[in-house]
Amino acid sequence: MSCQVWGAKVAVIGCGNLLFGDDGFGPAVVERLQTRYRLPRGVVVVDAGTGAGELLLDTVLSEETPKTLIIIDAMNFGLEAGTVEEIPLEAIPVQKRADFSVHQFPALDILKELKEHRGVDLRLLGCQVETLPEEIRPGLSASVARAVDRTADKVFNIICREVQN
């Protein structure tokens, strides 16, 4: 899977643990993209689960990198549940690293390396969670589930624009 991401024109990575409620947002969007859309050639869509950090570490060290990398993740910004925002990497303060994301989000260092030194066009889409279960409980909340379709649409539009460029 890593090599497909490395050489892709556009790589989409959904992060999250679908055993923990709204944390499964990223994989849910990936599943929607894989099953409901006809993806152009050169586009790779990956459900990285909780292994996104390792996948991106491989990517940053590879000889090739994707031209555009879209990361979809569940996040907690204190916004209305289900709100999906595109977040500039620079907007994430270092001290917020620990509580910014709700699971094994790739280390900011890796993302910065990809963007600043490897020239990857990095797009980060975060969805505000409604609740996070204390114990294993799969399934998205209603508000986050409603955001899946429109996020898949949004990502597909980005994919189409990037592939044409």
């Binding site: 459900d47 292994g51 950090g53 690293r97 509580d99 260092d109």
Partner: protein, 482 residues
């Protein structure tokens, strides 16, 4: 009532690592609590699910060791259904797993740990990470990336998905290995072996041997060790008996079938942690007192090489003899995990070649039919970070009624707790709480490479740690983070 000092690096789902250090009124460390891996609710989540669903579900537990959970779960289901899997299925499973272990071990050695000892000690954290290492040793890192990637490709060829595998099923494997796949995999396994041999020669010369004198002066924690061995006492990751080298006993060990693990390993709950602490039952008790430890044992690469009599593949065995000549027959210092890990990479590459050279691996019969039955099944594999135990009970319709999991890192929880407490007493007594103290506590945790950290490592290989110092009334008086 003394001060309470909390090191709380991460949110619950991110990593579950939390160190709480209790100070007395004089500022001396009274006790410490180390909490890791709180996979809460897993048992409740599993109850009522069909047994055959478990190998697919468990790959979502951990993004780093999905194969270990996938296999241990399928083996537990095999045992529960009382099914003997076809030979070819066992060979395919083990070959895929050998490739996964190579992939995982190379991640740890080259991407997380190597920067610590292959860059200059005086260089800052900006350089002492994998990117810094790559700029100084581009060929080495390029080779490591290529071979790691090749190992992952091997699991993808065998099982279609490396990240969320679903090819291992109760009763065997979901599809046979084709002859053309076998021929495609063999040179890949050989390239993994070539790199492993290069890596160990490089590391012996640059790292292990130069450090020997220094390491001999340090006093390590002496514990028991747990690992899997084949019927002759040789190292094995996929199948065999468990061997528990008794803590404190020179050379003696207990050997048992995995299904009997409860007779040899007990688990104790602490009122401050959701995780259970396993300990050697023969000790009669678990004591985390650094002055009087009892029942404490460790698992992982160091433990596996301590408990096995030999390694059944020739090149890895040769390396084992050299390692033991340099470090001893039973090795306690955590640093030797690195050397042991590279020997295990050689073993897994050789084992993959052995399995793939056997044309029997392409036999079309890879799956036996299974039927629901009431019973219990225990499945064990050696995960990269230690012995992984899946223990299931089911009713007559094949639905889960009880689950117990002991994951690799957990076996070492007691030892890690003692090391952190000893470190805290060395660096925090007197109320000192600066960044150096924080780093030393982090290093004590990192030496165990607990699985929460592999998911949240920064590029410099460190564990993200936030330390809050609270006074007797719980007020935060200082916060530090690395």
């Amino acid at each position: 009532m003394g001060k309470k000092l909390v090191i709380e690096p991460l949110t619950r789902v991110e990593g579950n690592a939390r160190v709480t250090i209790m100070l007395d009124d004089d500022g001396k460390v009274r006790d410490s609590w180390v909490q890791v891996i709180e996979l809460r609710g897993f048992e409740k989540f599993c109850i009522g699910r069909p047994v055959e669903e478990m190998p697919r579900v468990v790959t979502r537990i951990c993004g780093v060791c999905p194969w270990a959970h996938h296999l241990a779960s399928a083996k537990a289901a095999d045992a529960l259904f009382e099914v003997e899997i076809p030979d070819a299925a066992g060979k395919i499973r083990e070959a895929a797993y050998a490739a996964h272990v190579i992939h995982s071990h190379l991640l740890h050695f080259f991407f997380l740990a190597a920067a610590d000892f292959l860059t200059e000690p005086g260089e800052g954290y900006q350089v002492r990470n994998i990117i810094g290492l790559a700029s100084k040793n581009p060929d080495l890192v390029r080779k490591a990336v290529r071979v790691r990637h090749m190992a992952q490709q091997m699991t993808e060829i065998i099982a279609a998905s490396a990240m969320h595998p679903d090819a291992v099923v109760p009763g065997g494997f979901s599809r046979p290995l084709k002859e053309e796949q076998r021929q495609e995999l063999l040179p890949m396994a050989r390239e993994c072996l070539d790199f492993a041999l290069f890596a160990i020669d490089f590391s012996k010369e640059k790292v292990f041997k130069p450090k020997m004198e220094l390491l001999k002066q340090e006093i390590p924690l002496v514990t028991g060790y747990l690992g899997m061995v084949d019927p002759k006492g040789g190292l094995n990751f996929y199948d065999g008996k468990l061997r528990l080298k008794l803590p404190g006993d020179n050379g003696s060990h207990q050997e048992f079938d995995p299904v009997d693990y409860r007779d040899y390993i007990d688990e104790q709950r602490m009122d401050w942690s959701y995780a259970k602490f396993p300990y050697a039952r023969s000790a009669g008790r678990l004591s985390l007192d650094p002055e009087d430890p009892a029942g404490v044992y460790r698992a992982n690469s160091l433990a596996r090489l301590n408990v096995c009599d030999f390694i059944p593949t020739p090149l890895a065995q040769q390396e084992l003899l050299e390692y033991r000549a340099a470090a001893g027959r039973v090795v306690h210092h955590s640093f030797f995990h690195h050397w042991a890990r590279l020997i295990e990479v050689i073993y897994n590459a050789e084992r993959a070649i052995e399995l793939l050279e056997d044309t029997g691996i392409t036999d079309a019969r890879v799956r036996e039919k299974v039927s629901p039955r009431a019973g219990r099944g225990v499945g064990v594999v050696e995960a990269p970070r230690g012995t992984l135990i899946h223990d299931y009970e089911a009713d007559s319709k094949g639905y889960i009624t009880k689950v117990n999991l002991i994951v690799g890192t957990t076996h070492s929880s007691a030892a890690m707790h003692i090391d952190v407490l000893k470190t805290a007493r060395q660096v925090l007594d007197g109320g000192r709480s600066d960044e150096e103290a924080l780093n030393k506590i982090e290093m004590a945790i990192r030496a165990y490479d607990p699985c929460f950290s592999c998911a949240t490592h920064k590029m410099d290989g460190s564990v993200p740690v936030k330390m809050e110092i609270r006074d007797a009334r719980g007020r935060v008086i200082r916060t530090l983070s690395n």
